[in-house]
């Protein structure tokens, strides 16, 4: 394993030491088993210490990590017979959002998600997972199709936000997001959204009006990026760590507000450390929630979504 984040340095320093000791022992034919196992225990303790005390900002770093599994990886691993569909029928196909139909444990479903690139070239193709109106309209087209054929909709959220560009504004970035929110409210099929990385504001919510919102342990969901909040609210972008703390953007925070319905635990240090493990936990959670939702009829599903969102908010009301 290579070091991904600065906060992991103490762990890797210890692991380097173990490596050196092993080499030294082999070269000089010495028995250093005791010393090595002592250090190994220390590594484990250090991991526990670091990974169980992650700050919100450290989670942002994990959520954005280039090697973190992306939507297409989950789709490939969890669904069978995925057939990708393209285009919004209006202007273009937006590669920042992918979608199509697939079989999920034998049930036909519609799957949609933001798609980041896995490297620079991929990110240019995917526009860093930041969609234009075309992407949201493709997503909506697929959702309406799901509604017609009575297929559950499963959405993966992983975006810094909707793309702030000239063409995006001209083609109605606002309207495309807004339209998804109201149309998703009216779907008569189960909708499950899972935040797998960064949930960036309106661009994330455009795939997120759902019956069940699940979040990976290190995923974040925020009204604005910590950098943006720091520069607007504190007039200093370097205060992003404090902003990340104040904004309450972690999966645990969202669960405590009743916005996220479940937090899916990740392998120590993040999903990238054990892809199989996170894929299987995510699959188990989605399956469980989908089973629950599939017993509801169309009206009940709409009412369930209505109640979910009408209950979110903290305010004062004097009688």
């Amino acid at each position: 394993m290579t070091m991904a984040f600065e906060f992991e340095k103490p762990i890797y320093e210890l692991e380097d030491k173990i490596g050196e000791l092993e080499k030294y022992a082999a070269k000089n034919k010495l028995d250093l088993t005791k010393e090595i196992s002592f250090l190994e225990k220390k590594v484990n303790d250090k991991k526990d210490e670091v990974y169980s005390n992650l700050t919100p900002w450290q989670r942002v770093e994990i959520a954005r990590y280039a090697k973190r599994p992306t939507t297409l990886e989950y789709i490939e691993e969890i669904f069978e017979d995925f057939i990708e569909f393209f285009g919004d029928r209006v202007h273009s196909d937006d590669a920042a959002i992918v979608g199509g139909i697939a079989s999920y444990h034998g049930t036909p479903v519609t799957v949609i998600g933001h798609q980041r690139g896995r490297d620079t070239k991929g990110n240019i193709h995917r526009n860093f997972g930041m969609a234009h109106p075309d992407g949201y309209r493709k997503a909506l087209r697929l959702m309406k199709q799901a509604d017609k054929f009575n297929r559950p909709v499963i959405c993966f959220i992983d975006t810094k936000g909707a793309y702030p560009g000239k063409a995006a504004e001209e083609r109605g970035q606002s309207e495309s997001i807004a339209r998804n929110l109201v149309e998703m409210a009216g779907l008569k099929v189960p909708v499950i959204s899972i935040v797998i990385g960064e949930g960036g504001s309106g661009g994330a919510l455009a795939l997120g009006v759902c019956n069940r919102l699940l979040m990976l342990e290190n995923a974040t969901y925020s009204v604005i990026s910590p950098e943006g909040a720091a520069s607007i609210l504190f007039k200093d972008a370097s205060l992003k760590e404090i902003a990340a703390e104040s904004l309450k953007i972690t999966a645990a925070d969202l669960k405590s507000f009743g916005i996220a319905d479940e937090v899916i635990m990740e392998p120590k240090g993040g999903a990238h450390n054990d892809r199989e493990a996170v894929i299987s936990s995510l699959d188990e959670a989605v399956k469980r929630h989908l089973d629950e939702l599939q017993s509801m009829d169309g009206q009940t599903l709409m009412d369930d979504r209505y109640d979910k969102y009408m209950n979110i908010g903290v305010f004062t009301e004097q009688s």
Binding site: R179, G186, S222, V223, S246, I259, V314, F315
Partner: protein, 283 residues
Amino acid sequence: MLKDLFSKLNKKVNETNRNDGTFENSESIMTKCPNCKKILYSKELYKRLNVCTNCEHHLPITAPDRMEALMDEGTVKPILENITSANPLNFPNYEAKLNKDREKTGLNEAVICAEGTIDDTPAVVAIMDSRFRMGSMGSAVGEKLARTFEYATERRLPVIVFTASGGARMQEGIISLMQMAKVSVAIERHNQAGLLYIAYMTNPTTGGVSASFASVGDINLAERGALIGFAGRRVIEETIKEKLPDDFQTAEFLLKHGQLDEVVNRRDMKNYLGRILKLHSGV
């Protein structure tokens, strides 16, 4: 005496030049139009709903003033008045800022709601006020708007929402983002009941408000010259490394790009809405 008048005038000029959509309701006798620079009688300007007599430029108007100008006299019944913001994230200085804006505006939140008639047709109206926390949407604004739609759905009434907002209220973090979804589910229920919703965008309508209820009326209108957009101009210019045209994100720009049904002069607002409402009154 003359000097007095002009010192007030200068103050007023500074205030009306603020481009964040806010302004102070000053007592000055004269007001300078920030667009054509003509000096106008404040009283006359007020009678014209703060629309310049010379160039038709729309200066800001408060939500209570708009409510009064729009609704038939004696029919306004305020609703949902007692819902106000809390501080769910214990965000530093948030309460102080709320209190300051309450004092400044005489409002307790960034939106006021009422039932009444417009040219004799009943409607439920919500009007946002950009002087209050930039018209931003937190839990209280979201709750009031969502319940406005519920109220109208129960009574089978049309809804008109005048938007004026910088977007989501950041001090309420993710809870403020979720208000976009909350108002949307209430709109959808109103929609499914076959009822009319008119979104009327005023200066400024941006961010999360633009990307939710402001853009999904059965009829989308905007006030002349209003700034309307998702992302801020500076952010877009920095992203695409390109200077944007002057009229970018104006009501007229949106109309040209097919995003609006019509751009309306504030002085025609009541008549225009009255006509639309009448044509839907059999609904």
